[in-house]
Every structure is written in C-alpha cells, then in structure tokens.
Symmetry: C2
C-alpha cells in the first residue's frame, strides 16, 4: 500500500515544492513507484516539470468532475498537476459537508498502484493543506534556518494535533528538516540549534544545503538528479530519500 506523505509549512519559500520534486524523483530512482500531487494554486510543482495549463488537474477532481488523472513525468514518476482556478476552491466548497476528506477519497482507489504518494501544499493552513494532512500517513516540515521561519512552528504543530484528534488519527509527524542551509552563516547554525531544542528527535539528520543548481533545475523542467547529479543538492536529497524510506 502506498505511503502518503505531505510537505507542509505555512511559512513561504522554505522549499516545500523543491522537496516534493526532488524527494519524488529521488524515490523513483530508488525504484519506487511514486505519485506527486500539486494542490497549490500557484502550481509551482507542475511548473517544475514544465507542465502549464494542463487539462485535467486537481481542481476538476476536487470538484467531483473527474477522478485523479496522473500524467507520466518519467519512469516510476507521475504527477497530478494543479491549476490557478484552485485559488477559489475554499469558498466554492464552503457548503460541502466533510470537505476535508475529498482528497483522501480521490486517492483511495489508486493508492495501491504506488509505493509513495507525495503532496505539495500552498503556504497556508487552509482547506487545501487540511485536505492533504487528512489524506496523509506522515507530514514532513521543511524549514529555513532563519528567525522568521521558527515563529510559525507552534501554529503548525497545533493544526497537526487538531487533525490527529478529529480527522486523521493515523497522521504522524515524519520529521522536520532544514533547507537552504549554509553552515558558514552563524544565523543558520544558531537557528538549527534552536530547532533541535524544540523538536529533538524529530529533526532529520539530513540538511539540504544551499545550492544554486537546485534553483536552476526547474528552469529546464528537470529534477536535481537529471540536472546536476554530482552537486550537493543531489547528494542531500538522495540522503533525505533514504532517511524517509528507512523511517
């Protein structure tokens, strides 16, 4: 049965999309069958693979018009793209009873076809992110080792607890990991220590280092392994994949 993971953090620009792309791709190179799902209206996950204005997106599926219709990106890797129309879904579904379970229902019939299903979320804790957390087995929190990034941690922990209590008893915090990390910066080292104190054993060993190749890869519609297999970014994301599999 496919394990369902979500990358979530309402702080913006921390590497949720970048991690979904490169953990999804990394797992597919380790011979896992992987589905990645883009539920961010900005559609950055879709853009990272060169997909624009796709016909069947997560929007039509959440509206009940179609099932999930994945697109093959490469061997062992498929994606359900997003669309800008998704930004209105919270109001459109405000009267739908049990609207938090919609994504879980959509995934159920196809879950057995994959080893991992990974969901990229928008920088918010609204209905779309709640849908992802309700559908998931584990949530991973990417974090920049910067001051503003640690301020939001209590809020996201609160939301996860509420979801565990009311909507998804199986949800666990898979872990917290640092992104865009530069060990030469005192700020990064100091904040990393603070995060370690706050989360203890939940902080993953792998730190994703700041590496410009990671930011360049989406311009070519590629994951880091195909774009620059020997760079730090590829090494770090492969280590993260191994750490996630072994959990």
């Amino acid at each position: 049965m496919g394990k369902i993971l979500t990358f979530s953090n309402h702080k913006g620009g921390v590497g949720k999309t970048t991690s979904t792309v490169n953990v999804g791709a990394g797992l597919s190179y380790l011979d896992k069958k992987v589905l990645i799902i883009d539920i961010d209206p900005q559609s950055n996950l879709s853009h990272s693979f060169g997909i624009e204005n796709a016909e069947n997106t997560i929007y039509e599926a959440l509206k009940g018009q179609t099932p999930l219709l994945p697109i093959q990106v490469k061997a062992n890797l498929e994606i359900v793209p997003s669309s800008l129309e998704l930004s209105g879904i919270e109001i459109e579904l405000s009267a739908e009873p049990g609207r938090e379970y919609l994504l879980r229902e959509l995934i159920e019939p196809i879950r057995k076809n994959y080893d991992f299903i990974i969901i990229d979320t928008p920088p918010s804790l609204g209905l779309l992110t709640v849908n992802a957390l309700v559908a998931s087995d584990e949530v991973y929190i990417p974090l920049q080792a910067e001051f503003l990034a640690i301020k939001g941690l209590t809020k996201i922990s609160e939301v996860i607890e509420k979801i565990q209590k009311r909507l998804n008893k199986n949800l666990i915090l898979g872990g917290v990991f640092l992104t865009q990390y530069d060990h030469r910066k005192v700020l990064n080292r100091d904040v990393a220590a603070t995060i370690q104190a706050f989360f203890g054993g939940k902080v993953l060993n792998t730190k994703i280092r700041d590496n410009v190749s990671i930011a360049e890869a989406p311009t070519k519609g590629l994951d880091i392994f195909r774009y620059d297999p020997k760079c730090y970014g590829a090494t770090d994301y492969l280590n993260l994949c191994v750490e996630i599999i072994e959990k």
Copy 2:
C-alpha cells in the same frame, strides 16, 4: 494625506515582510511619519519588532470590535500588529457585504496622521490581500530572481487589474523590485533580464542584494538600519526608500 502602499506577492518567502520592515523604518529615518500594518496571520511583521500576543490587533479591528490601535515602535514609526486568529477571518466574514472595503474604512480616520502607511500581506491572493489592495494607492511586488518566482506574475497582474476595475480605480502598480539578489549567480542575472522584458519601466532600479545581516536583524527585533547601518542591506533599502518617495 498619507500615501498607502502594499507589498504583495502570493509566492512565498520573497521578502514582503522584510521590505515592509525596512522600507517602513527607512522612511521614518527620512523624517516621514510611518504606520505599518500586519495583515498576515503568521504575524511575521509583528515578530520582526519583537511583538508577540499583542492585545489589540488587526483581527479585532477587522471584526469591528475596535478601531486601529497602533503601537509606537520608534520615533516616526508605529505598527498595527497581527494575530494568529486572523487565519479564520476569510470564513468568518464570508457573509459580510462589501468585506473587501473593511481595511480601507479602518484606515480612513487616521490616514492624515501619517506620510506613509505600508501594509504587509500573506503569501496568497485571498480576502486579506484584497483588503490591502483596495485600501492602497500603490502596490509594490518584491521578487526573487528565480524561476518559480516569475511563474506567478501573470496571476498577480490579473488580480490587480480586477481590483482596479471593480474595487479601487486609484490603485497603481508602483513597481517590481528584486530581493535576495546575487549578481554572481547566472540564474539571478538571467531571471532579472526576463523580468525586465516582462515589466519594462515598472522594474525599480534598486536591487536588494542577498545579505545575511538582513536575515539576522529580526532576531534582535531591529530594522536593518539599527542592526547594521553600514551593510549592503541598509544601503539598498535606503535607496529603495528614496526611489519610492520620488515616484
């Protein structure tokens, strides 16, 4: 009459909060009376000045319970803080007729007390950001010179046009400016050229360079001018202030 500016971009982590802090503070050093308003539920603008769990926030004001009640931060600089409770406001106000005008109504009675009023927005184009744009004279778009950042530009341009047509005829695009810029990175130079082609004369001359002091300043609750007045960050943000005043 105070000029009302908004920093907005639904892409996360591009420097909206950092720019509100440092343009607000910069203008106050240039002897302008400035009010900054935090309408992001994450409350990062409030955190940047060491304000946590404030009593009277933008939440109570938008709910009609209090007027705007600014807190003095330093000479010539006041802030209306935010609160995590704000994250539920979109649903709470879904039945309020003309809910897009709430912030504009709250600012009207105190507008004459300031030279500039600057609003920090969340990474989304929902009700809170719409309220800020409806209340504003000018909107400024901070941008990282990275691939994913340019993908959202058409969407934000569309929203601005709709607001100009239906809710605020006076709103103009003040300009687009680059943040966290590193001229040594080919990616930053390439994307900067793309943005120049897309926005032409609307791209401000000032680029805010990548500078770790900028990320360190909020750990001390200070703006960049008080934290490290001789660093690149302070020079760049002062140049940006001058460019905004001269517009």
